[in-house]
Each structure stands twice: as structure tokens, then as C-alpha cells.
Symmetry: C2
Subunit: 449 residues, 2 copies
């Protein structure tokens, strides 16, 4: 007898689950995916580069199209929106061109993703105001940009905000970035965020910090014309909200599924939804275990979505796999400044009341004497006993991927002394003889009580 | 009462030991360093880049000069050669401009480094034949190159050999690299070494593989004129030997100190020489514990020399520190091809009779759709039970430093499954959503029994 799996959501988590399960189970599983948009398995992270003109979109951002998935035996139904989960009947209610339908399932995967947060201020419904979470969001933003606007305001100074501001300025727009905080990139300590602000300013972005958005103004044509903040009003024909996303859990909440304090769906390490039989969830709609905070967090990232989807797919097809949690590793670049972080920053450790010591090393991306050596800053944070808690790197070309060394050490529970001892790679085109991460580790070792 | 430490050798290991001890102990330790050359604390790894013209040498390669060390209270005596260790009298016999002297010590550090291996074939004493291990070697090679030779032969296809061949070709010499093996870089599996050979050939280096050097020819002026190999004779006005180095342990051996099977001085993990009181050794003259081979090896690298020197310095000044061993991590680049490795290759596991499984991933240095995405190859090797044994990476810009992720995992004793689960950094300018190392780890996981 063939079991049917229904997957709600056809991006990273949903399609990883579907693909993994189908590849392993073959004809023993009938896998149906319902997806609201026309796209599957796409890189939302690539949208800023599409907007900047680096990448052809939207098709260029699609890793595997609906038809490719179908050729692998997955019944992908696009432009179909799930409107309810009927857990008692074990059916998903969907709405598409064919009207309302009910699809029965033996096992259900909730992979509904996340949606951009748009603040509840007057005028946000104007034309020309955009979030960037889906390829459809990207298409709509590109339509606005095709109207040849002169000025853009990006609201939010996190990853998406700074990437989108760079994209706008590279398209030739007068670009303003507005954020409530004193410095962008609140996932870095403020003095490192300052380096990001300065790089953005050097690129030509007007950085309006410490400013809350109070309203959006629009013209008689219903299109946005400006952003009103506490500190001033900034004219704009296009506005991009990059202040984060929230788990898209309406369906799950309506069905009575457990929602955690982070706002994401709660799951066990197996990605099973507790108290339910044959019900799984993965990706941007769930909350994840943070191995360093020792708490559940909502970290909407493609890496976790893919890993969680894989775990679900293995478990759907008879495996006993667990998702091992997150560290909060992230990386990006603006202009030629790279930034990476993992675990806790000094500020975050402080906010959490965790006793912590930090040290910072100002080093170079290559041996100091080597042509092209550029500055990089590494900060490490640890418990007073030496257990590593986190790291941050801001620097030029070749800096940020070194955060993976810190992430690996953090994952394995290594101490600062272990990090000093590690046999890391060295050659003059890559670093000085002490790896930049180890220079910071030595400085931190010297500060531990 | 002030104790006196005498350090024999003023490069990475010796000066790290001296500096660390002096900084911690201050006036309580009288630190004397005797060094044969005029230089201290220099980057021998930078010599190929000096020869290529990227870096000003020799002073540009000096991290801290004798006078800088002296200003920190270390009694550095350059152009002074230690000729004997009189352990019974606790004196070092030295020879310098002032003639022979004896320097008494309370504690002794042997940091005599390594010396290039030159094969015992006719003609190797000709003018224009060079090793590259010290700045003086570099100076002599530059003198030969100042004579405007037309052709160079580099013997040896390891790190130094390929770096020196690139340096010669970039100086405009007709350059031939000769090696006994079928492919260069024997610390990589042969098919990955083939990528290195092809990159060298594309750069214009003639690669003569599988050829042993039988003799060197020279002209009436006593200068080298060609290299005779099993497969042919190659004209050259300058010859560089890059076939490796051997521990410089003549003094130590003469004094009866223990030499290991690797040819290096044996030490405890504290870097103390067993059976001796107050006698330490560090750097290219010692053998090190390989955490993966579980055996002692001779790995002459600046990273280990610095770490070992630091351990000695801490222990000289009352610490109880240990050197934690090596993994065999290494990295370099030739032209725009980067290579990194750590732990065991598939071929090495095989040679050692270790049961191992390997998998290879062909991935890209950025997201596949991102401009500038270039090929990279990642190979991982593990025990059948999943414990990681090693990794190799060959690829274009941005590839090789990822070996540090593997090195960190290897150091911490992680499994292939752990590597798949790791929270590594992702953004489209840096990789696809699954990190290249994790793509290889997933492939390997699928091959484990």
C-alpha cells in the first residue's frame, strides 16, 4: 500500500523533504507538494543580487523547477494555496484554479516559510512598497524599479537591508537606509556594525540611524512618495522593508498546532510536531534549538531549511534522524566588506546575563608583507572558564569565511585554548603565520581569569 | 637569582620561546639567543614571493629584527654559530667574530631548524644551485637570478617546488619542474595533483614527471648548466632544490640527544627533551605528534614552530603547557589555483593500511548562479564508522581556506554526520546553500557502510 505525503510549501525545506523522501522510498511513497507561487526550490537569498543586476532572475535563482521535480516523481502543484489543515480528517484544504479541493494524507509536512514583517504604520499599503522574501516579491520589486524611480528607502539594517541598499545604489538610485538602532547589523557588536555603516556610506548610501518609521507618504496615484521617520522625511519612489521576517504559521495556528515563544512552530529534534501523528514541520516556519543560547529561536535561513527538510525526508522514509540545532552562523558582504558571525556577540552575552569575556584582534587578510593584505577584525567571546561562546569577523576580501573555523569549534564545544592549538592552514597569500582567528584566541586567552 | 636561558636558533620557534619567556618572566630570566645568520623571526615561507618580486626582501620578510628583540630585553647574538652543546658543563660552545666562546645556561632551547635536502648526485656543488630554507639561501638565489639566467630547473613538486617554479616563470625564466612522482603535490591524491600539474603547465612551466635527477652539469666557470634526469637533460643556469628539508640535528645528535625515527629530535608534549633537565626543543628540528596518524612525524612548518616555541616559552617561565600535535594541515596557491589539505588523503590511508572511505564533490566557489562562481573539488576521507580522517580541496579563488573547517572538525574528532549537521556560513557570494565541505560530507555519508 502506498502512503501519501502532502507537503505544504515548495521552497527549500518542503522540496528537500519531498526530494529526500521520494529518492529513498520511490514508489512506496506518493509525494504531493502544494505551493502558492509558480516556483519551487529557489534562492531567496539571491534576490538582492538579482535586483542589483548580478544575476538573471527569477529563473536563474531556481535550483530545481517544478517540472524537474515532477520528472523525479514528485506531484508538484504550483499556484495552489493551502487554506486549512484538517487534522481530524487528515486532509489539506487547497484553493487553486480548479477551485477548492481536499487532499488526503498519511503524513503531512508543514513548510510554509516566513513572511516579511511590515510595520503597522499609515501608508504601508501604497504601491511601490515591497518586502523581499519570495521570487514573487522580487518580481514585484523589479516592476517598481522598471518605472525608473530616482530614490529608494530601505527600512532595516540587517542582512537583507544592507544587501538591498547596495543593490539599489548599484542600480543608480539615491538610496537611504533607515534603522532604529544606532548602527546597522545588530547581530554584530555595535563597534563592528559601525564598520558596516561606514562601508555603506562610502558606497554612497545615506545611513539614517536611530530613526523609527512613523508613516509612509503617497501621491495621488497611490504610489509611495516618502518615508516619515522620527528624525525626518525621506522622499522615495520605492521602499523596501528589510526589517526581518516572521514565521508563516497562520495555517498551523488555525489547526491548533503548537507555536513557541519565538513565534515559530514547535517541533521535536526529529522535526515531528509534538502530539501529532505523522506531522512534520521544517524551514522558516519553525523554531530551532540554539546550541549556544540553549533556547529555541527563529532563524529563517536557507541552510537550516535545507538541513531540516533533509531530516524530515529521511524520517518520512523510515529514517531516525535528528536536526542538531543552530549556532547563529551568518555571513554576507557589502561592497568589498565581508562580515561573518556565529554564536553570541559580547552584547548578546550581556543581554542574556551570560558571564563572558571578549577579545578583539586587528589583523590582515594575508601576511602583513604580502601584496593585497587588507585589514580584518576578529572578535571572540567565551565563558570565563574558556568555553567558546561566539565569534565575529569584519574585514576585506577573504575575511568572513574564517567564521566557519569558529563555528566548527563552537559546534564541537572547544575552548579558547583549543582554538589556539588548532592546526589551521597557513601560507602568506592567506594569512600571517598565526591565523587571524588564533590571534584573537590568544588575546582572549590572555584575558581569561 | 637570575636564571639564564640560552636559545640556539633565532627564527620562529627560538624567538617565540625567547619572547614569550622574556615577556612573562621579565628580569627573572636572562635570555640569550645565538643565531647563525643576520636575521631573526623571518618568514621563510615568503621567499618564493620575494623571488617572484611580490614582496621586498629580505627585510620585508622579517617580522621582528634582532634590534627589536634586543629592545625587549633579549640578548640576541647574530652571526654566531653554535658548534657544540656541552650538556655536562651546561654550556653552549659558539663561534663568531669574537672567536670561540662558551655560554653557560640554566635552561637550553634547541631550535636549530631544518636544512634543504640536496640529493647526493654529481655536480650539486656547482654555482647557481640553491635550496630555499633561510633568508641567506634567498639572498644567494637572488644573486644567481641577478646574472639574468634564461632557464631555471626546479627539482621537487611539493609546496616549495611549485611556489618556486611559479616565481621563476613570473620572472620570465624558461622554467622546468622535475619530480620523481607521476604528479606534483604528493600530499594530495594523484588525481588532485593532476589539477595542480595542469595549472602549472597552463602557467608555462614545463612539468617533467616521473624523472629522478641523476647529475648536474656545469660549465668551465663552475656554474650549473643543466640537470640530467632519467628521461632527459634540461639546460639551466639556475637550479632550485625544493625536495624537502630535514631536521638540522647535528648538534643535538653529537650531544647524545634522542632522535626519533622521523629524523627529528624527540620531545615530550611539553617540548622538554626526555632524560634531560631544563632542555627544550621546538620547531623544524623536532618531530611532532600527528593526531590522525597517531605517530610522530617531521612537519617543518612555521605554524607548528610558533606554537611549539610559545609552549616552550610558557614552560620556561613557570607554565605547564603542552603542544597538542598536528593534523598535517597545509595550503598554498599557484597562479589562481588554491590547494588545501589536512589529515590523511585516500592514498595515505591506503599506504598506512587504514580502512577508509572517500568521497569527492565537484562544487563551486560561489552559488552556481553567482558571477565569478568557479570550480572547486572537495574530497573527504573517513573511517567506515564515520570518524573523519582527512580532507583535500583544490579550486579557484576562495576555495582552499575552507580546509580549516575540515581541520577544526578533525581536531575535535567529529564524524562525517557531524560535518553534515554543522551550522556553517552561507550567502550566495560565498557558496551554494550547502557548503562545499558539506556537499562532500553528504556524498561520503552516502558511501559509508
Amino acid at each position: 500500500m502506498t502512503d501519501r505525503v502532502v507537503v505544504v510549501g515548495g521552497d527549500a525545506a518542503g522540496m528537500s523533504a519531498a526530494s529526500t523522501a521520494k529518492r529513498r522510498a520511490g514508489d512506496a511513497l506518493d509525494v504531493v507538494v502544494v505551493e502558492r507561487s509558480r516556483w519551487t526550490s529557489y534562492s531567496a537569498c539571491g534576490i538582492p543580487y538579482w535586483v542589483a543586476g548580478d544575476v538573471d532572475g527569477p529563473d536563474g535563482l531556481v535550483a530545481r523547477s517544478p517540472s524537474e521535480h515532477r520528472s523525479r516523481g514528485i506531484d508538484v502543484r504550483t499556484a495552489v494555496t493551502a487554506t486549512a489543515l484538517d487534522l481530524a480528517a487528515r486532509e489539506v484544504v487547497v484553493q487553486g484554479e480548479a477551485g477548492e479541493q481536499r487532499i488526503g494524507y498519511d503524513q503531512l509536512v508543514v513548510a510554509t516559510g516566513a513572511e516579511p514583517i511590515v510595520p503597522d504604520v499609515p501608508g504601508v499599503d501604497a504601491q511601490g512598497v515591497h518586502g523581499v522574501q519570495t521570487l514573487d516579491d522580487g518580481c514585484r520589486l523589479l516592476e517598481s524599479l522598471a518605472r525608473d524611480p530616482r530614490r529608494a528607502v530601505v527600512v532595516g539594517g540587517g542582512y537583507i537591508g544592507i544587501e538591498m541598499a547596495e543593490a539599489c545604489v548599484r542600480r543608480g538610485l539615491e538610496t537611504t537606509l533607515v534603522d532604529q538602532a544606532d548602527e546597522p547589523m545588530r547581530t554584530l557588536d555595535p563597534d563592528l556594525g559601525k564598520q558596516v555603516r561606514e562601508a555603506m556610506q562610502a558606497m554612497g548610501v545615506r545611513m539614517v540611524m536611530g530613526a523609527r518609521v512613523e508613516a509612509l507618504e503617497s501621491g495621488a496615484d497611490g504610489r509611495v512618495s516618502g518615508v516619515v521617520t522620527e528624525v525626518g522625511t525621506y522622499g522615495a519612489e520605492v521602499v523596501v522593508f528589510g526589517i526581518g521576517v516572521q514565521p508563516r504559521v497562520g495555517l498551523a495556528r488555525d489547526a491548533g498546532l503548537p507555536i513557541g515563544a519565538s513565534g515559530g512552530l514547535r517541533t521535536a529534534a526529529s522535526m515531528a510536531v509534538p502530539g501529532q501523528d505523522g506531522l512534520w514541520a521544517a524551514g522558516d516556519c519553525v523554531e530551532s534549538w540554539d546550541r549556544i543560547r540553549r533556547d529555541h529561536v527563529h532563524v529563517p535561513l536557507g541552510t537550516h531549511a535545507n538541513k531540516q527538510g533533509r531530516v524530515v525526508g529521511l524520517n518520512l522514509s523510515g529514517g531516525r534522524e535528528e536536526f542538531a540545532g543552530v549556532l547563529g552562523t551568518a555571513i554576507t558582504k557589502v561592497c568589498d566588506l565581508e562580515l561573518g558571525r556565529t554564536g553570541l556577540t559580547a552584547a548578546q552575552a550581556d543581554e542574556l546575563g551570560r558571564d563572558a569575556v571578549s577579545a578583539t584582534a586587528e589583523t590582515t587578510t594575508r601576511a602583513g608583507y604580502f601584496p593585497g593584505a587588507e585589514p580584518m577584525t576578529v572578535r571572540l567571546t567565551a565563558e570565563p572558564g574558556g568555553l567558546l561562546l561566539g565569534g565575529q569577523i569584519v574585514g576585506r576580501d577573504g575575511s568572513a569565511l574564517r567564521i566557519d573555523t569558529v563555528a566548527s569549534a563552537l559546534w564541537a564545544g572547544l575552548s579558547v585554548a583549543d582554538l589556539v592549538a588548532l592546526d589551521l592552514a597557513y601560507a602568506p597569500p592567506f594569512s600571517s603565520v598565526w591565523d587571524p582567528v588564533q590571534v584573537a584566541a590568544r588575546a582572549l586567552l590572555g584575558k581569561l581569569p
